[in-house]
């Protein structure tokens, strides 16, 4: 049996029915790693020995009916900014090169309770700052569809691992598109949940008001099942929500006929690759053909999304990254004169260029004299953007856009022009500013064989619309439906 052809849910189902052992699933992943990892470099750390030991434990746990998750026994990869107890967690940064967290992130505890098997930690842009996984201090990850191209970022390692079959599922984190954009570039499905749905405890913070952990998988059903595992209230994260509607994998029968989709027309103006645009328009045609209503509308705040996002994200990053001072944990410069020199050298040597750029930008916009002109203004802009989304959701069930304006760039191309790289986040950042849920699903390929992603944005809490099943569609179920129609599944 070719286990690689199975989705996570199918694998778990076969395990449950004893057609496949937990060990078989783990083996199939390590076979792929053996075959592809030297080229892809999705992982920073692989827990081979531990995964096999854990497989036996889970095998027994399943026999004892210990887990009530439909994903028990499934191998999963974890982005390296999520703390796993007693294992290095580096954020792909030199400054955390020797950091070993003494505790598990909330999501890791949940994975373990669900009987899932952690394969290792995946590569990423340093501190999740970047859109290509090239800012990692530990080497680049290559796109499994074309090794000359980047996998996207910052969760590039997680998405590449799923795309290469080096894991059935992966956890990523999304601050401005870091799950959705690499999912689009690697041809997998990735979901950014509503802010507060998944605990951020143990996720090393980049921008606390925007960060959210989310699932990456082969299709929406897998993502929904994984989201169900990791979602839930955590009293130790004060931004964690108490939601009673986290049965994301529940079926929803509502058809697509009459559903209203809105497309911000500003999203389709200059800068959009014609091939991406064509694939996106084709997706719209499919939807219309199925009886959905697709309309274009104007999103006037579009041009302010990138500036507002980069000001807010950098401001928060500059504060969050202050803790890396060489005193409490992580890297410390070998030679220094006094305390301030130690700070300076530690941070100069420990952080990479992109991280430094954002710390500087964030420090600048929060400085007295500039605070009102930049940070405060960005917050006001964020409110205006939110108001426009609220208005849009009064008219439409779901908003649609390409996930990114282009397909995966060639290695090395983006770092030359950071401004161009920031502009590539145009369709994804507003979702984080507004705390909305959004999913990226594959919707075609360009002539180089590089995948194209379709982004669907729901209103808050609309990952699953079971709260109002009569009026609104189930988000993942809808995506799965779309996915089947679009031939990506």
């Amino acid at each position: 049996m070719d286990l690689q052809a199975l989705t996570a849910l199918e694998l778990a189902d076969k395990i449950k029915k004893r057609q496949v052992s937990v060990l078989d699933g783990v083996k199939s992943v390590f076979e792929q790693i053996e075959k592809k990892e030297s080229r892809v470099h999705a992982y920073l750390d692989i827990y081979k020995k531990e995964a096999y030991t854990r497989a036996k434990e889970v095998e027994k746990g399943i026999a004892d009916d210990l887990y009530n998750s439909p994903l028990a026994g499934v191998p999963i990869a974890v982005k390296d900014n999520i703390c796993v107890k007693a294992h290095p967690t580096t954020c792909a940064s030199k400054i955390l090169g020797d950091f070993i967290p003494p505790y598990n992130a909330d999501v890791i505890d949940r994975l373990e309770r669900a009987g899932m098997i952690i394969i290792g930690k995946t590569n990423m842009d340093e501190f999740a700052m970047g859109s290509t996984t090239e800012t990692s201090a530990y080497g680049v990850t290559r796109n499994p569809h074309n090794p000359e191209h980047v996998p996207g970022g910052s969760s590039g390692g997680s998405c590449a691992a799923v795309a290469a079959g080096e894991a059935y599922l992966a956890l990523g984190s999304d601050t401005g598109g870091s799950i959705r954009q690499p999912s689009a570039f690697c041809g997998v499905t990735g979901l950014k949940p509503t802010y507060g749905t998944v605990s951020r405890r143990g996720l090393i913070a980049y921008a606390s008001s925007l960060d959210q952990i989310g699932p990456i998988g082969k299709n929406t059903a897998d993502c929904a099942a994984l989201l169900e595992v990791i979602a839930g209230h955590d009293p130790l994260d004060s931004t964690s929500l108490k939601r009673d509607d986290i049965q994301f994998s529940r079926e929803n029968d509502r058809g697509i006929v009459g559903m209203k989709f809105g497309v911000p027309k500003e999203y389709l103006s200059e800068g959009l690759n014609p091939q991406t645009k064509a694939a996106f328009m084709e997706a719209l045609k499919v939807l219309t053909g199925m009886g959905a209503i697709v309309e274009f509308f104007s999103m006037k705040t579009t041009e302010y999304m990138i500036p507002a996002y980069y000001i807010i994200a950098s401001a928060e990053a500059s504060s969050n990254l202050e803790r890396f001072d060489g005193v409490k944990y992580g890297y410390r410069a070998a030679e220094y004169e006094d305390l301030h020199d130690m700070y300076r050298r530690t941070r100069t040597e420990g952080f990479g260029t992109e991280v430094k750029r954002r710390i500087l930008l964030g420090s600048f916009v929060l400085s007295s004299g500039y605070y009102d002109a930049y940070y405060l203004k960005a917050l006001k802009t964020k409110n205006l953007i939110k108001q426009e989304f609220d208005k849009a959701f009064a008219d439409y069930d779901v908003l649609l856009s390409p996930t990114a304006p282009d397909t995966a760039p060639r290695l090395g191309e983006s770092l030359k022009d950071p401004m161009a790289m920031y502009l590539g986040d145009i369709y994804t950042v507003a979702v984080n500013l507004c705390g909305l849920p959004a999913i990226s699903v594959p919707c075609g390929k360009d002539d180089k064989g590089l995948p194209i992603g379709l982004q669907m944005i729901g209103d808050c809490f609309m990952e699953n619309l079971s709260r109002q099943p009569a009026e609104l569609p189930d988000f993942p179920a809808l995506s799965a439906y779309l996915l089947r129609r679009l031939g990506g599944d």
Binding site: A207, S209, T239, S318, S319, S368, Y371
Partner: protein
């Protein structure tokens, strides 16, 4: 509200300041007053009031020395009726006395400057209580840009009127309310009520004992005399006093029923205070109970009289002062296990009998 970063310790070593991280992460609330205070006395009164409030609400033990309460003093001087002058901020004030001294010192320093025609610089100064002197730490010019902004990890807390009402309802009795009640319910004078409520745990100990014993006034006396005396002798704070109120209440009951003499009661209480001894069993074990053995008392009185014939002759002869000498001797002999009144009574009977005997012999 913020998290305590730690405490700087300056004056204990000559050449360096050290950081005490024991309080790191402990919640800290900063209260900023208006420039309303005009003297060191007013500042201390304000701080005392705050301290009592915080202690009674169980927010903090408010120990300046340990850093669980800290005060920075902003001070400026002006001519009567003039507008407020340039202020300085004084840090490193580790006791109310230090605050008082620092205020006096800074007031004089600023007046001196102004009288010399110089200006007061707006700056932060550090008080050295050993040298009774302050010096400038940093001026406004090199003020840090902290780049503060709303912390996204701390969502806004909405304090509703209903919530406030609930908190007010659940709030413990405050010091002034307690004092009022002690005066009304227990008939204690204000001064006693103030002393008893100086610390929340001292008041709690008193109240529990008073309720168990049933006589608040006598309990109050015991606390104000005996408990305070032992605390002073041993240099203890009220929070360190740990005896069971039931033990003291039982002891007071024994005194009331004349089962122990007041002297022995003090001895027993010392044991309760030190190691929370159970008073009755301790008294019995150590022979401190009053015994109602009239035979023993009679015999002892007779023996003491026989041993001191001259003194007794004086007593019979009408020298009443000698009575005290005999009572003391007998009490000592019986280790306080008898009632002084009984001793006196027995002695008088003996005197009467001797007198009669003497008359008959004549």
């Amino acid at each position: 509200m913020e998290e305590d970063a730690g405490k700087l310790i300056h004056d204990e070593w000559e050449d360096c300041s050290l950081v005490d991280y024991n309080r790191s992460g402990v919640p800290l609330i900063e209260i900023v007053s208006e420039p309303d205070m005009r003297s060191a006395e007013e500042v201390i009164a304000y701080l005392e009031k705050l301290r009592h409030l915080m202690q009674y609400l169980d927010v903090s033990d408010c120990k300046l020395q340990e850093g669980s309460m800290r005060a920075d003093v902003n001070l400026s001087v002006r001519e009567t009726g003039g507008s407020l002058g340039t202020r300085t901020e004084m840090k490193n004030l580790n006791s109310f006395k230090a605050i008082s001294r620092a205020i006096e010192n800074e007031r004089e320093r600023q007046i001196e400057l102004l009288e010399q025609g110089k200006a007061v610089d707006q700056e932060t100064r550090r008080w050295d209580d050993n040298k009774e002197y302050s010096y400038a730490m940093r001026s406004k010019e090199d003020a840090k840009d902290y780049r503060y902004f709303p912390d996204p990890d701390l969502p806004p807390v909405h304090v509703s009127d209903t919530w406030l009402l609930e908190i007010r309802k659940a709030q413990p009795e405050l010091r002034e309310e307690k004092q009022q009640r002690y005066q009304e319910e227990f008939g204690l004078p204000l001064y006693d009520a103030q002393l008893l409520t100086e610390s929340r745990c001292f008041a709690a100990l008193f109240e529990e004992t008073a309720v168990l014993f049933g006589n608040a006034k006598k309990t109050a006396n015991w606390f104000l005399v005996e408990v305070l005396r032992l605390m002073k002798e041993k240099g203890m704070e009220a929070e360190q006093v740990k005896f069971s109120p039931s033990h003291l209440a039982a002891l007071l009951d024994m005194v009331e029923k004349k089962e122990v003499s007041p002297q022995n009661a003090r001895k027993i209480f010392a044991e309760i205070f030190d190691r929370d001894a159970e008073p009755r069993s301790y008294a019995e074990k150590n022979g401190l109970m009053i015994v109602n053995d009239t035979g023993l008392l009679k015999d002892t009185v007779a023996r003491i009289i026989d041993e001191n014939p001259e003194a007794f002759a004086e007593l019979v002869g009408g020298k009443d002062k000698v009575l005290g000498f005999f009572v003391g001797l007998i009490m000592k002999e019986l280790k306080g296990r008898v009632n002084p009144a009984d001793v006196r009574e027995t002695l008088k009977k003996q005197i009467e009998r001797r007198k009669t005997q003497e008359t008959q012999e004549i």
